[in-house]
């Protein structure tokens, strides 16, 4: 009877487990395995050549393109962590006050995140590109008498990556905004009240109450930003169309290119593992940080749902 019941219960998770096994677990080990092989994706898999750690050695020692892509993604991530998240934070603080049209702002700020990277990339390309776009930004600069700032933003390798990063931030800040706002709303109003009674000014209140209490949320947003941004690449396809001589190459774009253009399936798997490991390490470090922050702010309770 007990066994029957257990079997019955397994039936509940069976669909999830089988899909998960086939489309996650098997590919996971498959990627691991393939990363030790040299395989062009044409001949049968059994004809692939085992190269041991050869692919990883090449990644670490001889693949400047990969590390350039990493640096590029790092730069985009840096801008997302600073510009995008600070903007999101400021907007959230602004909306946390008793202010009119709060819901309207909340509605609008989350529109960019719901759009696909393809759509965002293509629309922005059309807005800022010189060659095949209307370049509204440059027209605006010209009209504002700032003609000296007119620039071919996407075509100049010096500005292309930062342009990508800013469009990426435009698309992404809504996430941070909503999470921050939810976090801010959990801070009891009495704390602010008490601080005012104690004579603290707005800046002191912000520094001594808002930021510390929000620390776990800030770290959460930072982790999500890093994980999301380091793996982003579709936006670049829509916006720039390619790697622009390496100036806008990012890791996942490299993986895709290595697989499709150079037909090095094994090597592209090794690249994927390399990136995955780096991301896991970063998350762990941040997780450790957030635990410490949590310990420091014991008052902080879980963010309740609305």
């Amino acid at each position: 009877m007990k066994i029957r019941s257990a079997l019955e219960n397994y039936g509940f998770i069976l669909p999830a487990l089988s899909i998960f096994a086939v489309f996650y677990i098997i590919p996971f080990f498959f990627v691991l395995r393939l990363s030790f092989f040299d395989w062009d994706g044409i001949g049968r898999l059994s004809s692939a050549t085992f190269v041991g750690l050869g692919n990883f050695k090449e990644i670490l020692l001889q693949d400047p393109n990969w590390w350039q892509a990493m640096r590029n993604a790092g730069w985009i991530t840096f801008i997302a962590l600073t510009f995008q998240n600070i903007l999101a934070f400021m907007l959230a603080v602004a909306c946390d006050r008793e202010i009119r049209m709060k819901n309207f702002y909340r509605l609008i700020f989350f529109i960019p995140p719901i759009l696909s990277e393809i759509v965002v990339g293509m629309v922005w390309r059309f807005i800022i590109n010189d060659v095949d776009g209307a370049n509204i930004i440059n027209r605006f600069l010209a009209q504002a008498g700032l003609a000296q700032f007119i620039h071919n933003w996407l075509a100049d390798p010096k500005t292309a990556l930062t342009t990508v990063a800013i469009v990426h931030s435009w698309k992404g800040f809504g996430w941070g905004f909503l999470i921050f706002l939810a976090g801010l709303q959990t801070i009891p109003r009495e704390f602010y009240e008490a601080a005012r009674v104690d004579g603290a000014n707005a800046w002191q209140t912000f520094r001594k109450i808002t930021v510390p209490l929000l620390m776990p949320v800030i770290i959460l947003v930072a982790i999500l930003t890093i994980l999301g941004t380091m793996q982003a690449f579709v936006l670049i396809l829509g916006l720039v169309g390619g790697e622009l001589a390496g100036h806008t190459s990012v890791p996942v774009l490299r993986i895709l290119d290595v697989m499709r253009d150079s037909s090095r399936f094994g090597y592209s798997c090794a690249l994927g593992i390399n990136l995955g490991v780096i991301l896991v390490i970063i998350s762990f470090i941040q997780y450790a940080f957030s635990n410490r922050a949590r310990a420091l702010t014991q008052d902080y309770e879980h963010i309740p749902s609305e």
Binding site: N9, F12, A16, P27, P112, C269
Partner: protein, 280 residues
């Protein structure tokens, strides 16, 4: 409060509104520009940069739907989104219910594996999915794509639903059990209806996710007639890059449904993000 304080507050509020409004404008301007451009012609698109075209040209939509075959891609996207979301709702709620309420050996370990999967990124897993789906003869099929998309949404949805079921009072289930309801019956008649608010979150986020997905569609489909909108847009750009109004019509067709869906289900998004932003 003194007049000084009141007027200071008014100034601060005005400044805050200006800041918020400026950001809001940058959020919607590109979209308005996209829609406006889709009604212009190749001749006026660069000269007439206003947001309200002097003359509305609907033929771009007609062309996108006929020559660009966007009608088909649109239906494909709808089909994939609906199928994958339905699949995720049923499969993940079944599993979440079991993880929360039912007993079986290995329960915690299996759940932990699901959660670990949510945390550990495997960039480039599309390489192995390509090979694997090919072996299973699921590449370049709708089923293969739908199963992949179900898999993508599974872990997070199970996590959200399990968290909800854990907090759900047991009384109703007990009553149903006494009435002779089977486990499956309880899931269907009690747990599922009760979890409606969380299901809404699961539905909206997965719908966004599937509708906007590009990479797997790139890897899985070669046949044009199976492609969803995002994939087709990139093809479309290759063919019609220089026909901007047509491209903008294609983009509008792709973006509009999701914006409408968002406007209707906005509050569930806020809720989903608030519950720790798990869908990052």
């Amino acid at each position: 409060m003194s007049i000084y304080h009141q007027s200071k507050k008014a100034v601060v509020n005005t400044l805050i509104h200006l800041f918020l409004l400026a950001v809001a404008v940058t959020c919607i301007y590109p979209l308005l520009w996209m829609v406006a451009s889709s009604f212009k012609t190749q001749g006026t698109i660069f000269s007439d940069i206003s947001l309200i075209p002097r003359q509305f040209h609907f033929e771009n939509y007609y062309l996108a739907l006929t020559k660009g075959d966007f009608g088909r891609y649109f239906l494909n996207s709808v089909f994939y989104t609906v199928s994958a979301v339905l699949g995720i709702v049923f499969i993940s709620s079944l599993a979440a219910y079991a993880f929360s309420r039912l007993r079986f050996p290995g329960r915690n370990i299996i759940f932990a594996v699901f959660i670990a999967a949510m945390m550990i990124p495997i960039p480039g897993s599309f390489v192995s999915l390509f090979v694997l789906l090919n072996k299973l003869h699921l590449r370049n099929t709708s089923l293969g794509y739908i199963l992949c998309m179900i898999n993508v949404g599974l872990a997070t949805s199970i996590f959200l639903l399990k968290t909800f079921f854990d907090k759900m009072p047991r009384e109703l289930e007990d009553a149903a059990r006494i009435d002779g309801c089977s486990k499956l019956g309880i899931w269907w008649n009690v747990a599922l209806p009760l979890s409606r608010p969380v299901l809404a979150v699961v539905v909206i986020f997965n719908a966004l996710n599937v509708w906007n997905e590009y990479v797997l569609a790139l890897i899985i489909f070669d046949s044009k007639h199976l492609m969803p909108l995002q994939r087709a847009l990139m093809l479309f750009r290759g063919e019609f890059l220089t026909n901007y109004p047509l491209l903008m019509a294609g983009l509008t067709i792709t973006a509009l449904p999701i914006i409408v869906l968002y406007l209707f289900m906005q509050r569930y998004i806020v809720k989903g993000v608030a519950s720790a932003g798990v869908f990052g």
